[in-house]
């Protein structure tokens, strides 16, 4: 088998680590399949959100609750974290120093935490306005969809911490590499889900 043959598409280790690259084939493909299954969950929550959008029952509406500035800042944060995770992948693939790898992971983690902080702040503001999930069908569907993405980001952040510890404990052995690959897929995937959220939820709700 030639080193140039790609065992799995998308992110890969290429010929910088042929052995791990070979093992990564089914591991990474399996994670892709999992992500697609997860995507169906998000898709159905989007559909539910669409169905329930008119069900405001005289309560808060999208236009009254969403703030374009905070949505924009959250988007920027997450997008930047996607780029910094890209740098993690590059550092891993091209054998950068462990310190460089860990610092890019650290930056991503901080950005993820910042995103979560802003999102929590949004939710508390909404709660303060009386926009809580038990108020109407519309708010129920909002609070099922957007916090689920937040929960994914939270677990992604926990995963980053675990991987940082593993890099420090094991160095870059095959399993660590494969798991960082999977984590990067997860992180970029969450950013794609966020594109749908800021477009369909926030921007659609704010269109005048």
């Amino acid at each position: 088998m030639s080193a140039n043959e790609i065992k799995h598409a998308g992110l890969n280790l290429g010929d910088t680590d042929e052995l791990t690259h070979g093992q990564a084939g089914s591991a990474v493909f399996g994670f892709w399949v999992f992500l697609m299954s997860d995507a169906v969950i998000f898709a159905l929550l989007f559909a539910t959100y669409g169905v329930m959008l008119p069900a405001t029952v005289g309560g808060p509406t999208p236009a009254s609750e969403y703030k374009i500035l905070s949505a924009f800042l959250e988007t920027l944060t997450l997008l930047t974290s996607s780029f910094t995770f890209g740098m993690v992948s590059v550092a891993m693939k091209h054998g950068a120093s462990r310190r460089q790898l860990l610092s890019w992971m650290g930056v991503t983690l901080v950005l993820g935490a910042a995103f979560l902080g802003m999102e929590l702040h949004d939710f508390t503001t909404m709660f303060g306005d009386g926009a809580y999930p038990t108020r109407s069908g519309y708010l129920s569907s909002f609070f099922a969809l957007v916090p689920l993405h937040g929960l994914h980001v939270f677990f992604g952040s926990v995963w980053i911490i675990v991987m940082m510890v593993q890099v420090m404990t094991f160095g870059l052995d095959a399993r660590v590499k494969i798991n960082i690959l999977r984590l990067s897929l997860f992180w970029h995937f969450l950013d794609i889900v966020w594109i749908a959220i800021f477009s369909v939820v926030y921007l659609q709700g704010l269109i005048r």
Binding site: A3, N4, E5, I6, H8, A9, G10, L11, N12, L13, G14, D15, T16, H21, F29, W32, V33, M36, A39, V40, A43, L44, F46, A47, T48, G50, V51, P54, I68, A71, F72, T75, L76, L79, T80, S82, F83, G86, M87, V90, K93, H94, L185, H188, F189, D191, I192, I195, A196, F198, S199, V200, L203, Q204, L206, I207, R208
Partner: protein, 104 residues
């Protein structure tokens, strides 16, 4: 660009291009809503259109999905997933909005 033989420089450049394009698309979408200059349905169409383009950009530059032959397994998976998602989402919306219209 996403091949196994890329140099580190090329890869960083690819991420940077993706980041800049994504930034521009995001900015355009937010601008279209913040400074409305079209009818609301047109604005919505623009926002959703930009979202689709940005999704493609993310797949291309961050997830390195391309149309090259050796990457077809994952591409097929993604396309099939999209087909199912479109079926499910559009079906749900059509049926339940139809029901809603008839109940009103």
């Amino acid at each position: 660009m996403s091949g196994p033989n890329d140099s580190k420089r090329d890869e960083i450049r690819s991420y940077a291009i993706g980041y800049c394009v994504a930034l521009a698309l995001t900015g355009a979408a937010f601008a279209a809503v913040h400074w409305p200059s079209f009818a609301s349905t047109t604005t919505l169409a623009i926002v959703l259109g930009l979202a689709v383009v940005q999704t493609v950009v993310h797949f291309r530059f961050f997830l390195h999905i391309s149309l090259r032959k050796s990457a077809r397994d994952d591409l097929q998976l993604i396309l099939f997933s999209m087909l199912i998602v479109i079926l499910m989402v559009s079906g749900t919306l059509v049926i339940l909005f139809n029901l809603r219209a008839r109940m009103m």
